[in-house]
């Protein structure tokens, strides 16, 4: 089941890379976070780790529901460009994405020998880190870049829950706090734009 969820996690991210519409992108991001939340819940149940269960629930509430909703509201309020066409053409992306995947899978191969449990997930989280970087690179508009940043956060979170079997509670809460702060700052950045015009 965990394998299935992690597969869906990567699948939603890759689909997001090919998306050309903003709302679709938000939808894929939300699914991505949802998968992450379920993953945290499953692993947390397996390890019997209360902290991870809490972070899993927080992930689902904040990242899968809250943030996409806020971003959608923002985009309606400030009239974002909703057609976000990637700058990297599809035919190159088709070659680039597998290349990145192969590269990261082999890059993390020595690591997977060292971590006993859930070793594959390290490779997948590293590759999703690179893919979210690609998501940031391939878009010119700001909104997809934000989503790239947020999915990078997701990739890091995945690494946190799989490679280390959960980080200390304090750190995870701190990361959530910073994420909320990021949303506030993004909101403010758009607000200023509005005031000037």
């Amino acid at each position: 089941m965990i394998d299935f969820l992690i597969g869906l996690f990567l699948a939603t991210l890759i689909t997001a890379l090919f998306t050309t519409r903003l709302y679709r992108l938000l939808w894929w991001y939300s699914l991505n976070s949802l998968m992450l939340g379920f993953l945290a819940l499953f692993i947390g149940r397996e390890l019997d780790d209360k902290a991870m269960l809490i972070t899993g629930i927080a992930t689902i509430i904040i990242k899968a529901i809250g943030i996409p909703f806020v971003l959608k509201n923002l985009s309606q309020k400030f009239h974002f460009v909703r057609q976000v066409i990637p700058r990297i053409k599809v035919q190159y992306a088709i070659m680039l994405i597998p290349a990145i995947l192969v590269f990261t899978f082999y890059l993390s191969e020595p690591i997977t020998h060292m971590i006993k449990s859930n070793s594959n997930y390290v490779a997948i989280s590293i590759s999703s880190l690179f893919l979210s970087l690609l998501l940031m690179i391939e878009h010119k508009n700001v909104a997809p870049k934000i989503i790239g940043f947020l999915s990078m956060e997701n990739a890091l979170f995945l690494l946190g829950i799989t490679a280390t079997e959960g980080m200390p509670m304090l750190v995870e809460l701190g990361i959530f706090f910073d994420l909320l702060m990021a949303i506030v700052v993004i909101n403010l950045l758009f607000h200023k734009e509005e005031m000037k015009v």
Binding site: M1, D3, F4, I6, G7, L8, L10, A11, I14, T15, F18, V90, Q91, A93, I94, I97, P98, L101, V102, F105, Y106, E109, T112, N120, A123, I124
Partner: protein, 306 residues
């Protein structure tokens, strides 16, 4: 052996029903009065009674091609994974053979389109070539990857192996292959995001453009071929990616299998209602996703073993 032959006959009979079912379901969802599920048979019998007219410009290819479109697909039906436990199946046919036979059928279809010497035929053929060139690599990769997970290159054997012990540890790569194959199912059968089988609009036609000049028996053959193709893909999908129900007794197993086929049909119908047709030059995007997922499934399996 009886179960084997019976399955093939069942699939052959089910083929028009599935396509009509999709159509009917779509009509229901769009608040129209649905067509009968047996509309495919009615069309077939109507076409059989009609006079067959062939354009003066055509060569003898038009007379052979419809049979050659249908026959490779009929051959493929013999190689599908078994539906009931202990049935006879062909274990040695691998992904390349199946893809090759399907593309042989496609080849004759394109030839048919070109042979009628109308502008539409050529256009449809070139579009079909464009799409199927992208479909094939993904198809080979996907079926190959699933066969690797099942531990046997033969598609039939793979289906049996998957049903017997499902590869829990390869769930991630299995999922990627599943996504890829579903996109291929849509693309290869000319369903909505790729091609709309219901319109005769110049801009959107792919499949219809090639068979525009055909009438009567030939058209019936081609229609049968396309429904058989759908059923082949659907049954490959259900026996490779939803490998459930093989262990039950024969009638229940067949029932489960048919139910799974109808579930695929429902999924396709829902997708068709909810999406708009892609512009032709956007089609590579969708197929690109499919290729990426197929490749991803292979490398996830090989490198990570997940």
């Amino acid at each position: 052996m009886i179960a084997y032959l019976a399955t093939i006959v069942l699939l052959f009979l089910l083929a028009p029903i599935l396509l009509s079912f999709i159509k009917a379901l779509k009509m229901v969802l769009l608040f129209k009065k649905p067509v009968s599920v047996f509309q495919g048979y009615r069309n077939f019998s109507k076409l059989m009674h009609k006079e067959t007219i062939i354009s003066r410009e055509t060569s003898s290819i038009t007379r052979y091609a419809p049979f050659l479109v249908l026959s490779p697909l009929l051959v493929v039906m013999f190689f599908l994974p078994p539906v009931v436990h202990g049935a006879y199946y062909v274990s040695f046919v691998d992904a390349f053979t199946i893809t090759g036979l399907i593309s042989l059928s496609t080849f004759f279809l394109m030839l048919l389109g070109l042979d009628s010497a109308s502008a539409f035929g050529g256009m449809g053929s070139s579009r079909e070539a464009f799409i199927s060139a992208l479909v094939e690599p993904a198809m080979v990769l996907t079926v190959f990857s699933v066969s690797m997970m099942a531990g046997d290159l033969g598609v039939g054997q793979a289906g049996v192996n998957l049903a017997e012990h499902f590869p829990q540890e390869h769930m991630a790569s299995f999922l990627f292959a599943g996504i890829s194959f579903f996109i291929l199912l849509i693309a290869e059968n000319g369903r909505i995001p790729i091609d709309n089988p219901e319109t005769h609009l110049e801009l959107t036609m792919v499949h219809e453009a090639m068979i525009l000049d055909l009438t009567g028996v030939y058209l019936a053959l081609i229609e049968t071929a396309s429904s058989v193709k759908f059923v082949i893909f659907a049954s490959l999908f259900v026996s490779l990616f939803i490998p459930l129900g093989l262990e039950y007794s024969t009638p229940i197993a067949i029932l489960v299998f048919v139910a799974k086929l109808f579930a695929v049909a429902v999924a396709v119908a829902l997708l068709e209602v909810n999406t708009a047709k892609l512009r032709l030059f956007k089609v590579p995007n969708l197929l690109g996703i499919s290729i990426v997922f197929a490749f991803l499934s292979l490398i996830t399996f090989y490198v990570l073993g997940a």
